[in-house]
């Protein structure tokens, strides 16, 4: 294909409205290829409990909310899903039990992640089936391995994680959802050595580096698109004089080394929400569109390719 438009977004963290926007981005931006770069699943569950008078209640966005069952409850559930949380209708007794049983809580998270993702893929199928859009969705370091089988089971999306795939013509894409170790010890945090080994292994099969895209969740180290607050042992941000938070590069040295070594056409990254930006490492343009998922805004980047070269790019907030 001489001309190709790619839409890339990342870090939607369970926000259903952002996911739907991602799928609709294909027609909205007239994109040939849409890529979701990881961190798909939600971070919190909102328990909704029934009261004696038949209404249901929960605490959401700092407010105590009581609604009647039926349409208003459905609307509340949708609102919860849209900010990236999982609604869970339960009893007060179960809430108590879940708080005291970490294993059960963890299982619940897994089950809800799978259930909600499956719903999203049904939506995807309805929208993309029969279209020419290629949709790539890979997990990120925040996502449990359990979602891989859900992603792999879908016929209308491609999970490119840990693969080198041809996305169009001679344009290839190397994808990795892993990150170097974070303070949160997320499910796909691995050491720099492991990360480098994985990238190198995949990169060894690249046919034309200058026509290859690195879709790697974690951005390259000290690239300006990887600035995050430095944390102390208690996971609190370190402060400088005057109360300012100390920022430090939190990207991956392995990713940077790999980009310097292979000089791909484009680097698509996410992981650090507050570090939206672009940078050039040698001839490689690296992008991090950042994330604003909690406000329901889907941050992304449009990349226009022409004859295998980047003609233009634009950060968008849809």
């Amino acid at each position: 294909m001489a001309k190709m438009r790619i839409y890339f977004t990342t870090d939607i963290h369970g926000s259903e409205v952002c996911f739907k926007k991602f799928i609709n981005a294909a027609s909205f931006y007239k994109a040939d290829i849409i890529i979701l770069g990881g961190d798909i699943t939600g971070k919190a569950i909102i328990p909704i409990t029934e009261k004696a008078d038949g209404t249901v209640q929960c605490r959401f966005l700092g407010e105590n909310i009581t609604v009647n069952k039926g349409k208003t409850l459905e609307e509340l559930i949708q609102k919860i899903r849209n900010v990236g949380f999982y609604p869970y209708i339960t009893s007060s007794a179960e809430v108590k039990e879940l708080f005291s049983n970490e294993k059960k809580m963890s299982e619940l998270f897994m089950n809800l992640s799978v259930k909600e993702l499956s719903r999203w893929l049904e939506f995807t199928e309805k929208r993309l089936k029969g279209t020419k859009t290629k949709c790539f969705i890979s997990p990120g370091n925040d996502d449990s391995q359990i979602i891989d089988r859900v992603l792999n089971s879908s016929e209308c999306i491609i999970n490119p994680n840990e693969k080198l795939v041809t996305i169009d013509g001679d344009i290839e894409m190397l994808s990795l959802g892993y990150s170097n170790i974070t303070p949160w010890k997320c499910p796909r945090d691995i050491t720099e050595e492991e990360l480098y080994r994985k990238i190198d292994q995949l990169a060894s099969a690249i046919k034309k580096p200058d026509k290859t895209i690195f879709n790697i969740h974690v951005p390259p180290y000290d690239s300006g698109i990887d600035l995050a607050p430095e944390l102390d042992a208690n996971m609190r941000p370190k402060l400088e004089p005057g109360g300012r938070v100390k920022m430090a590069p939190a990207g991956s040295k392995s990713v940077k080394d790999a980009i310097i070594k292979h000089q791909p056409l484009l680097g698509l990254h996410g992981h650090i929400h507050e570090s939206k930006g672009f940078t050039k490492i040698g001839r490689t343009l690296c992008l991090n569109p950042g994330s604003e998922y909690q406000e329901g805004i889907l941050r992304g980047a449009l990349i226009q390719l022409s004859d295998g070269k980047i003609k233009d790019f634009l950060f968008v907030a849809g």
Binding site: R5, H13, V17, K20, K21, N24, F28, Y29, K43, A44, I45, I46, P47, C58, R59, L61, G62, K79, N82, V83, F85, L98, F99, M105, L108, F109, N141, D142, W184, K185, C186, G224, L227, A228, P229, P237, G242, R244, V245, M247, H273, E274, K276, G277, F278, T279, S291, E295, G296, I297, L298, L302, Q304, K311, D312, F313, L314, F315, V316, A317
Partner: protein
């Protein structure tokens, strides 16, 4: 969120950077505290009978209303870029850019007008008071003012290039010096009393304190405080409050932004208002309110009885008759720090604007290059410094500055556009509105608080825009300057559309930047 009401798993989190207190200092410094000591003389002269301390007290609630509007709107979209982002998202990116470009020009024009304040109203009087008369006239010259401007803009660039931490430290140092000087000024005047000041003034100036009041009365000065004059004079005091909402442009970097924005904006208004009130009050208590009004009136009407060695009797100048030379010089020095701090904040904010435009591809991406060591946008900084120096030369050697006479009017247009965007926000960006914090969605009856605040903000902006164009304030309204003011907006639109056409040609229309993707 309550821990026992929501299940939260371990996951990476987003943390923001600027504290509420740093943000408040930024707002205060943009407002230029104690610049009121210059504006007050103009208010007294143009609106004889204006009660200046009262204008400061009245400006506080008015600023709080407008401040609440900006704080609530910022809570809905806590993104760096402030009204540029809000207007772009709710109305059109071209309108957002147009407003932001206008503010960019306003800030650099104000910076250009402030440099002579430093050389001619602070440095020269200090040297003159110390007996270096020739040196004083040299530093007050246009040539020296330009050389100083270039040097200071380069110092600002050096500070900003060392990252946000260096700029914050510089602002705190300026803030402390301004406050120390202000305390000296207020304490001296409050302990002095008008009788002693009158004796000093009469002995040192060759003018008679009581005769100043009598002559002014004979010339038409009312000799007492009038409510209508006070309400009109309020416009001048409020002009000095402008800038209290500057932290909306750094919202994306503020810690606990929804709470911090309220502290930063409302706190800045209250502190600035109290400083202004105390400054005016101490001036009246130490020099006599009637005398201050009378001498301002004589100076501004060009009365021959006004024979002081300075063109306008700004309070820092009159302070020399209230104290000894050393204290006077120390005070003028600290007062001048306000000028330098304000210029630094203007450069800081305009650099951010250029950086954001470059990010959004409206202007070339080369201007968003960042220095890795200090994370400072050095290309935007070089660009702004060059523009500031060019404009400074234009201010000093051409009549360009006079074309910026209606910037308050233009600023109010911007406030009205931002307010309109807030009114339509719940309908045009329902997706964001519904997920906004409770404070944004709060309603009084059927109308949202944000809408009420927006309407009040429009009323205040319309009043101030009108007042800033009133013949008393600007003389006869000059249609050429009015066209120039609108022309600045038009220039923003032209830049946007040229860029838009270029990107359409290369592949991706700029208009897509802020368009919402329909979720269903």
């Amino acid at each position: 969120m309550e821990k026992k009401e929501v299940f939260v798993r371990k996951a990476s989190g987003l943390v923001r950077n600027i504290s509420a207190w740093d943000a408040m200092v930024l707002n205060i410094m943009v407002m230029a505290p104690t610049a009121i000591f210059v504006y007050g003389v103009w208010a007294s002269a143009l609106y004889p009978g204006a009660d200046l301390p009262m204008t400061a007290l009245l400006a506080i609630p008015i600023s709080i209303i407008v401040g609440l509007f900006y704080a609530v709107y910022s809570a809905a979209m806590p993104r760096s870029g402030g009204d540029y982002i809000w207007i772009s998202r709710t109305l059109h990116p071209a309108i957002g850019f147009m407003c932001n470009f206008f503010l960019f020009m306003v800030m650099l024009s104000v910076a250009g007008s402030y440099v002579p304040w430093f050389t001619q109203w602070a440095l020269a009087p200090i040297l003159e008071a110390l007996g270096y008369t020739e040196l004083a006239s040299f530093v007050a010259s246009t040539e020296f003012t330009f050389i100083f401007a270039v040097i200071y803009y380069l110092i600002c660039a050096a500070i900003i290039s060392r990252g946000a931490k260096a700029s914050t430290i510089a602002l705190w140092i300026f803030f402390i010096l301004v406050i120390v000087g202000f305390v000296v000024y207020a304490a001296t005047l409050l302990s002095l009393g008008p009788e002693q000041f009158a004796a000093n003034f009469s002995a040192q100036t060759g003018m008679n304190y009581q005769a100043v009041i009598e002559t002014a009365k004979e010339a038409g000065y009312p000799g007492k405080f009038l409510l209508d004059a006070t309400l009109l004079g309020l416009a001048f005091t409020y002009i000095n409050f402008l800038g209290f909402n500057s932290t909306i442009y750094v919202a994306g970097e503020m810690k606990d932004v929804q709470k911090s924005q309220f502290i930063a904006i409302i706190g800045a208004v209250i502190i600035f208002g109290l400083i202004s009130w105390l400054g005016y009050y101490a001036t009246y208590a130490g020099m006599g309110g009637t005398f201050v009004g009378a001498i301002s009136y004589l100076a501004e009407t060009g009365h021959p009885a006004y024979t002081l060695p300075f063109a306008e009797p700004f309070f820092p100048f009159l302070f020399r008759y209230a104290t000894n030379t050393a204290t006077y010089c120390f005070y003028l020095f600290t007062w001048s720090m306000m000028i330098l701090a304000a210029i630094l904040t203007y450069i800081m904010l305009t650099v951010r604007f250029v950086f954001a435009w470059s990010f959004d591809r409206v202007i070339p991406t080369a201007l968003s290059k960042v220095d890795r060591r200090y994370n400072s946008p050095y290309m935007a900084l070089i660009f702004v410094t060059i523009i500031a120096i060019i404009l400074q030369a234009a201010w000093l050697w051409t009549p360009l500055l006079s074309y910026f006479a209606y910037i308050v009017f233009g600023w109010m247009i911007m406030q009205i556009i931002a307010s309109i965007s807030a009114i339509v926000f719940p309908y045009r960006r329902k997706d964001i509105y519904e997920k906004a914090p409770a404070i944004v969605r709060k309603k009084i009856g059927p109308i949202s608080v944000l809408t009420i605040l927006s309407i009040l903000s429009i009323i205040i902006a319309a009043w101030l825009g009108y007042a800033s164009l009133s013949p008393t304030m600007v003389g006869t309204v000059d249609p050429i300057i009015l066209v120039f003011t609108f022309g600045l907006y038009a220039l923003g639109l032209v830049i946007y559309f040229i860029s838009s056409m270029y990107h359409k040609k290369t592949g991706i229309p700029l208009e897509l930047s802020f368009k919402e993707i329909p979720p269903e």
